[in-house]
Symmetry: C2
Subunit: 463 residues, 2 copies
């Protein structure tokens, strides 16, 4: 097996990763001497995250396979077994990095608040310092929310690993991210507890400027936390699509963050977007390392752990940063895929174990996979299917009596193949990613140009 999945790094790889790691360590050491700029440190930590994940994914391959964490790539001529659940490695590296990073956003506060010489005697003055001279700094009071974010990410990792190990049933695993979101909800309740939302201008005459959602606000946060990981988990099945879509979303979120950081300070949302960057930069680090191994043709699989983990990073950033509506604008293809999948997910229509596109070994191309109807569907279902077929949202095959014999599976991947014909696996992934990027850019454009029409000011969040 060691010949089919080499677990050693090449000389060039070793050299590059080592250089990257050393450069990153150098930058971090330098931030201690300067003014301890956390954003620079975060970038450097992301470099270390990339190097560490890249090396560990390679080294741990045989170990994972020995422990039974392996899978067959169905969409290849030679269906060899490769390591599975490699997202767990990314998650562990990410969590360690993000924990070690904790002191950096607070470094200046500590130094400024002591009388020097390592004394911590005037720590009580922290708050004055923070609201006084160092307004640019990430506020110390947000430590609890940062910790709760890590707790939720750890929870989703533990539960995700459990899912990959035990293959939990779909109707149970759907709620895994919900359980993992409990830490952020609880700490939100204890530490902030703001459940007001800003009412769009057209509705103000009826509801007033602010509306207290109360308990429903927590339901909303939990729903976002359940949606993001699951929506990534069901837009899956071809090499590299899980990591790539997560990277696209992460880069678009960072683009959005940059709008706020480049705006004249102090903008009320700057802290939220600094927090977002601190969480997303190391995520991009570990994800790129995984991407390098998971892109077509895959040498490792990511596992459900990665999908949950990635989705939870976005959910945490959106919830704690109070921009979950903007977040959802970047999930347009996932939202479409989720709604489009619903008839199969909720078993209104038969759902096979796997719905990934079918690999045609003769042409080497991916084709839409189908569900075969052994008995013709009920009239109402048949009507619904035929309607979708006419709207070009499905492809049906009928027998000579006009009865439906098979229908393509309800995923955006199959629909794309229905629209644009059979294509190679990586081509399909690239086209979807381009579509995801364009949708996201459009979403951000709308949000930053037209939000003022329905809200009073851009991002006047209640925090």
């Amino acid at each position: 097996m060691s010949t089919s999945t080499p677990s050693a790094l090449s000389f060039t790889e070793t050299l590059s990763l080592l250089s990257l790691a050393l450069a990153s360590f150098g930058i971090i050491a330098n931030t201690f001497r300067g003014d301890g700029e956390p954003l620079i440190a975060s970038l450097a930590f992301s470099g270390i995250a990339y190097a560490a994940s890249y090396a560990m994914i390679r080294w741990l391959g045989p170990t994972f396979m020995k422990a039974g964490l392996k899978g067959k790539d169905m969409s290849k001529v030679h269906k060899k077994e490769i390591p599975e659940t490699m997202g767990a490695v990314c998650a562990v590296v990410y969590l360690l990095i993000i924990i070690v990073f904790i002191p950096f956003p607070f470094y200046k506060d500590i130094v400024a608040a002591t009388s020097g010489g390592g004394n911590r005697d005037v720590v009580i003055e922290l708050e004055h310092v923070q609201t006084g001279r160092f307004l640019h700094r990430f506020p110390h009071s947000k430590l609890a929310s940062y910790l709760s974010a890590i707790l939720s990410l750890q929870s989703v990792s533990i539960l995700g690993i459990g899912d990959d190990l035990f293959d939990i049933r779909w109707r149970h695993k759907f709620f895994i991210p919900g359980i993992a979101s409990i830490p952020i909800l609880i700490v939100y309740f204890v530490d902030f507890g703001v459940t007001h939302i800003v009412i769009p201008i057209p509705l103000r005459p009826y509801l007033g400027g602010l509306f207290d959602l109360g308990f429903l606000y927590y339901v909303y946060m939990a729903a976002v936390a359940i949606f993001c990981p699951n929506s990534i988990n069901i837009l899956a099945g071809i090499n590299g699509i899980e990591v790539s879509q997560s990277l696209v979303i992460a880069f678009l979120l960072i683009l959005n963050d940059c709008f706020y950081l480049l705006a004249p300070y102090p903008h009320p949302a700057t802290d939220s977007h600094l927090f977002s960057l601190y969480m997303l930069l190391p995520f991009i680090g570990v994800s790129l390392a995984l991407w390098a191994h998971n892109w077509y043709p895959s040498r490792v699989f990511v596992g459900d752990t990665y999908c949950y983990f990635a989705g939870m990073v976005f959910a945490v950033v959106g919830i704690l940063g109070h921009f979950s509506k903007t977040l959802l604008l970047l999930f347009i293809p996932q939202i479409f895929n989720f709604i489009y999948s619903a008839p199969q997910l909720f078993r209104l229509i038969p759902c096979p174990r796997h719905r990934l596109p079918r690999f045609n070994a003769r042409t080497g191309l991916m084709e839409p996979s189908v569900t075969e109807w052994q008995y013709p569907p009920k009239p109402i279902v048949a009507l619904f299917l035929k309607m979708l077929h006419h709207l070009h949202l499905l492809r049906l095959a009928t027998n000579h009596e006009g009865q439906i014999t098979e229908s393509t599976n309800f995923t955006i991947l199959n629909l794309w193949l229905v629209w644009f014909g059979p294509m190679r696996e990586d081509r399909l992934a690239i086209e979807l990613l381009v579509m995801q990027t364009l949708c996201g850019l459009f979403g951000l454009f709308v949000r930053h140009n037209f939000a003022l029409w329905i809200f009073e000011s851009d991002n006047w969040t209640v925090r």
Copy 2:
């Protein structure tokens, strides 16, 4: 396999667990109506923790075995396979309970600090409230340290599960708790950063009343965090010993906590010991459930996950509660076992893969296991071994030339069998637990009666 490890609960078990869970839920609901007494809620949560762990350990047995998490009980006539790593179930239940518990210690603060009606508008006054009327309450400012404790416990669970899955080498896994202790060290650095220790009276003329350990204080905390889990992990090998010793330590810690809670308030250490109780009560809940399945004859194994997890609970409680020296007094047998094991652990003397006592299938009793010397040991080693033999700390076998041919393995379990002869597995466990309890009670007695001779006042901690 389902016949050998039945995974269903009996009717009596179902009824008892359900009653316990319902009663606990009732109590928790009641604390909302009263003054939200967190200690009562913690007790009730522990009841739920017990019921949930008990049921899940039973239900998940076949699932764990299917995923390859199983082991053979070597000390039985019929060496059947039973589920392994069941400590992971306890850890997950514990973590969920301890996260859901977060609002309870802060409940009163929130209610008192708002203007009612769900408003959180005067949250800024929290600190006045906390130091004013509600001195008995667990202070809100400790939220970060509570969260960091959970982070460390989650980290050790993830790494422990990794260890159980991949069978990490001993010299690597030794540092797992060290990595998992990073969250508490980091948050300690960011949030408190007090690294002074109180100097014992006899040393004051030389060192002064307080001494700043600085960086070394973090090394000390990491050492405690590395020692506790590993010392439990190496005092293992017979049915029930890992869970039982953890339960003994937990009960002794609770006894110690009670001394402070029953003392006239305000005692400066009361908060630390409330924190300790909040962490330990649910731990006892999940551990008792595991104990019921793991005691002789075992129906499940606990796995390294449990040992790391249990040790980390104690380390976290001791470190964040600033009573790590008292904690170590309860680890006397573990400390002895660790020092006694050192020659084998550090390979000064050959160390077989397993050092657990040997099961004699003819008598059904446990006997000391031995390391066979194929070549006679070096003169210096032989001298050392013979010295230990004369001190009754080892049993040697020699050939007719007086050369050492075998020596008993260096664990307290084997030594106990050398001293008191072969005995049945459960008898051995019970005798060791009685010894552990007596040592711990003696330790607490010394600590509370003689500490005043070397320190100014009982538990005048720097916090």
